[in-house]
């Protein structure tokens, strides 16, 4: 488990280095489950609304597959892989704060059938050491620039 201050990022997950910090996990039959990691939810603040492409919708790596809203600000959630959405987490739709409270468990967002898993996962960050380095570097940068949402937001 990579850990820095109040953020944990499991080293066995893969991380898409994008504006929202998306995590991805390879599941049975090579399907990909994904969500926003603890770092991303800390930066965004308390989630108020979420909206995602429905099952059957195509995802393009790096392009929005949905949106989240915190503090009346809408931000994109970028797909970590090219593929087709198989399932959207309805619990998160009903209670978006699950993304804040349980980012890697109940706060998952989408299950995707990837078009080319190996190719799309090449540049995702993975492994304890790499994830730790990624977490520390981004956390320090966000702290210096004052980019984390105020704790009062939560």
């Amino acid at each position: 488990m990579a850990k820095y201050k109040d953020v944990e990022m499991p080293g066995d997950l893969y991380y898409f280095n994008t504006d929202n910090h998306v995590w991805a996990k390879i599941e049975e039959d090579n399907k990909v489950r994904c969500g926003i990691d603890q770092f991303g939810q800390k930066a965004a603040g308390t989630m108020a609304y979420v909206k995602f492409k429905p099952p059957g919708g195509k995802t393009i790596k790096g392009r929005p597959m949905g949106t989240v809203e915190a503090g009346k600000y809408i931000g994109p959630v970028r797909a970590p892989v090219n593929g087709t959405i198989l399932e959207i987490n309805q619990e998160v739709r009903d209670d978006p704060t699950l993304i804040n409270k349980d980012s890697y468990g109940k706060g998952w967002i989408a299950l995707i059938e990837p078009d080319n898993l190996e190719e799309d996962f090449k540049d995702l960050i993975h492994g304890e050491e790499n994830v730790q380095a990624f977490l520390e570097a981004d956390y320090k940068k966000y702290e210096e620039e004052g980019l984390f949402a105020e704790e009062e937001d939560k």
Binding site: V50, T67, E69, R93
Partner: protein, 353 residues
């Protein structure tokens, strides 16, 4: 250099689609754009994540000829008209603050200063509000649209509280009345604060100067580019498409937001003695107002009104509230067959905010 699109009065549709078009055409190399305008016609407007049919009384709007738009930025349902001066800030993501509250704080500053120059003691209240004496005096919304950060807001010269309450889809007329009363308490305008409506053109000039002061440069007047005009045509088409307008989804909530920390809800709890209806207004985590009623027997007759009085000003927390209700039952000798203090607590705590 920052562009100014000073558009005076535009159609209700363009009061939303123009800034969307500019946002979609924004690239990392684009200049920032400030748009200032007023809608010619009144309309209802819902946020991107809202399910329109769940929040707006569509039948009423159709009957009255009030158009409805769904925007691509956040926030809730609002009633917009020519008594509000809109300002819309569209900047490349790499030229705007990345943190949401910093984005709002920056782009709401000209509006705050404009109000102050008109003689109102307005202030920015995090995350996204402008207030005067703890009353909201500005509507706001923001979002990321492609490569643009967008912040929108309005200066409220006057406000149609009645129509704002009327266009909302609510569970009862009693609740609508409470929403109306709550807005009267917590939403203010230039007319209310000054006793008159200041000249809109002069106010606009002050706002533009405040943007120039904030951004450290003169704004240059511009028109929409041909690419923006083309994109505008597609935005007009999209925003009037029923598929877009009536797209299902959004968080299931019965709460109505009045201002930054004031929210109101109506809920029902079915107990063995009958249904208990609650209209609850929270200010932060405190019960600001509460109306308890229901279809059940309770003695003495004025018990529920008195209980409401007792609960006003109390924290919206289960354990202390239950103790208070139990104590009230004991002190007042309350009799309510089939209704216990726990039932009343459940009704008050039914809707989590």
């Amino acid at each position: 250099m920052i562009r100014l699109l000073d558009l005076n009065e535009v159609s209700y549709l363009h009061s939303q689609t123009i800034y969307h078009a500019v946002a979609y055409c924004t690239t990392p190399a684009s200049p920032g754009t400030i748009i200032i305008l007023r809608p010619r016609e009144p309309y209802g407007c819902v946020g991107y994540h809202q399910w329109l049919e769940k929040v707006i009384d569509v039948d009423y709007c159709h009957q009255k000829g009030v158009p409805i738009i769904r925007r691509e930025v956040g926030g809730g349902a609002v009633y917009l008209d020519s008594d509000q001066l809109f300002f819309q800030c569209i900047f490349p993501v790499n030229k705007a603050p990345r943190r949401v509250d910093s984005l709002y704080k920056l782009f709401l500053k000209p509006a705050v200063n404009t109000y102050r120059r008109l003689g109102i003691d307005a202030y920015y209240r995090p995350v996204n509000d402008i207030q005067v004496n703890e009353k909201k005096i500005c509507g706001t919304g923001a979002g990321r649209i492609e490569d643009a950060s967008v912040v929108v807001g309005n200066l409220l010269f006057d406000f149609n509280y009645g129509e704002m309450a009327r266009i909302l889809r609510v569970s009862s007329e009693k609740f609508r009345d409470k929403i109306h009363d709550s807005m009267q308490l917590y939403l203010t305008t230039l007319r209310r604060e000054l006793g008159y409506v200041p000249d809109q053109e002069r106010t606009k000039d002050i706002l533009i100067k405040e943007f120039e002061q904030l951004l450290g440069c003169s704004l240059y007047s511009d028109d929409l580019t041909s690419e923006e005009q083309q994109t505008l045509a597609s935005m007009d088409k999209k925003f009037t498409d029923p598929v877009w307008l009536y797209e299902k989804g959004g968080k299931k909530t019965n709460w109505i937001k009045i201002s930054a920390d004031v929210n109101i809800v109506e809920s029902t709890h079915n107990s063995p003695g009958g249904p208990i209806w609650i209209i609850l207004r929270l200010k932060g985590d405190t019960i600001d107002d509460i109306v308890i009623s229901g279809d059940f027997t309770i003695q003495p007759n004025n018990a529920l009104a008195n209980l409401g009085d007792r609960l006003r000003g109390q924290p919206h927390e289960a354990d202390p509230l239950l103790k208070m209700i139990e104590s009230f039952y004991k002190d007042q000798g309350i009799e309510s067959p089939g209704i216990t203090p726990e039932d009343i607590l459940k009704a008050i705590m039914t809707e989590k905010y």
